[in-house]
Symmetry: C2
Subunit: 301 residues, 2 copies
């Protein structure tokens, strides 16, 4: 990046899980906090940032359709993926002990994810919902509130000078979020290391066509790692598509598929060629190196 | 129900969307509010309620994996489905006008879903997150707070004696939640009206077997209305399964499929027989009448 640090837009405040995912994806990056997901897209589109890191699915919550919608409405490309375990910590001001706490604050989902563990720790105190996990830590630190703890990441503790009273307090150990990295330009797909390709497609016809569409991959021995149908229910889809003059299109179903092949692989090109015969809309969101860390590797479907 | 009113457990406080879904599913029911989703399951299992109504997927948020997990951990059966449009309203105490508002409170997802509309209404005031939508309305009414509005359902306005300042304030019109109705006993599937069957299955083998599994439906002309893969990533699955002596099982993937056939239909029975050859775990969550209201009807995949 011309000798300068890469700037990575994320949604949240410093200490957010998205910021940690950005740091895992780009170790020496300059994180750029954004209030909304859409602002992170715009930051990259307007050259205020070089990359965006976007949560796309969570092992408890499932796919985040709202962020898939943003991928279709904008022109950014997926250039990588990173999976990040959600590891909630209980944070308080330095010197505060567990018995002094009268309140725990965090995002409602984080409070729900730690409910039983808090009770097991003897913390039967008031729980209050705020906008985000790192924001809860920031609020306590900024106001030096000593009777209140936050549920947030260990990085939030570091940033806001707080103590970690307990670590790994989520009730469910398998809480992992998958993030994708976005850029203005796609990367050139290669075949010398494992690549994954993410596509979205839709069809207007209604005769049981999913089986035909999957044959395009199965007969070429291309493994899928994700498949999901999403009914659209007459909702217009705002797609960035020049042939469409910006008009909204209507589809009955959208399909999300991730498959284990690089678009540089002729098998992938042929599969998409065949898929196009059965679909009225097809978009490659990106072809990118797979995250091969042990945490994340799932076998083919 | 022996001459008495049917009692339906739901998660939330009166005025919650889940309560409205319960009323749509069982028009003259006695709704039983529960603090947590799990408490709604327990209420039915312990005969404190006759049915539970559980949100299972949302058109913006996607499938709620956490609630699929509860279905696998408990022994209840899906006996019906109901789809409910999320229609957010801006509620304030009677006599309060829009210009007097200094704050809007609601669940963070509701605040996010109405962000642009609030700005368009000129409401550039503080937004504060609380635990749930109906709870926000209840809080304002109980404390007679006149400078604060809540985002909640029109039913919450009715219950807590509040005024609706604006209706349908969600930015995205296609915001629909699908709920399932749960009971201790399955209903006897019939073939004289459209039925849907929901199944969950998993396999320990890793050779691209999804295509084989879908053939069991495709070759019998059974339409699918939902398919979703969910990587388990070495997470133990706690399944209620007598053959398993309560031990946790490990799977690489779970699959959720909804198909358009009653289990009374021999085609469905044969398809599941074939599917069982390729899976190490298979459970029918329920076979139940389809919600045929125009809002919801999606064509086969």
């Amino acid at each position: 990046m011309h000798g300068s640090t890469i700037r990575v837009a994320y949604q949240g405040v410093p200490g957010a899980y998205s910021e940690a995912a950005a740091a895992k994806a780009y170790p020496n990056c300059e994180p750029v906090p954004c209030e909304q997901f859409e602002a992170a897209f715009q930051a990259v589109e307007l050259w205020l940032a070089d990359r965006a890191v976007l949560p796309i699915e969570n092992s408890l919550g499932g796919s985040i359709h709202r962020n898939y919608d943003l991928l279709l409405r904008h022109r950014l490309h997926i250039v990588g993926e990173v999976q990040f375990p959600v590891n909630h910590c209980l944070l308080a001001m330095p010197g505060v002990s567990m018995s002094e706490l009268k309140r725990v604050i965090s995002h409602p989902q984080a409070l729900a994810q730690c409910e039983h563990t808090l009770t097991r720790l003897g913390l039967n105190v008031a729980r209050e919902a705020v906008d985000d996990t790192a924001g809860a830590a920031q609020f306590i630190a900024d106001n030096n509130i000593r009777d209140t703890a936050a549920i947030a990441s260990s990085r939030a503790a570091e940033i806001y000078g707080m103590n970690i009273l307990a670590e790994g307090i989520q009730d469910d150990i398998g809480n992992v979020t998958r993030f994708v990295m976005l850029a203005r330009e796609p990367i050139i797909p290669r075949v010398d290391r494992p690549f994954k390709t993410s596509i979205v497609f839709a069809n207007e016809e209604t005769t049981g066509s999913l089986f035909k569409m999957l044959a395009a991959f199965a007969f070429r021995d291309i493994n899928l790692t994700k498949i999901e149908s999403r009914p659209q229910r007459k909702k217009p889809l705002r797609i960035v598509d020049d042939s469409n003059n910006g008009k909204a299109k209507y589809f009955e179903y959208l399909f999300y598929i991730d498959f284990e092949a690089s678009m540089a692989d002729p098998r992938a090109q042929n599969a998409l060629g065949e898929l196009q015969e059965f679909t009225s809309f097809l978009r490659v969101l990106g072809s990118y190196p797979m995250d091969m860390t042990p945490l994340v590797r799932s076998p083919p479907l």
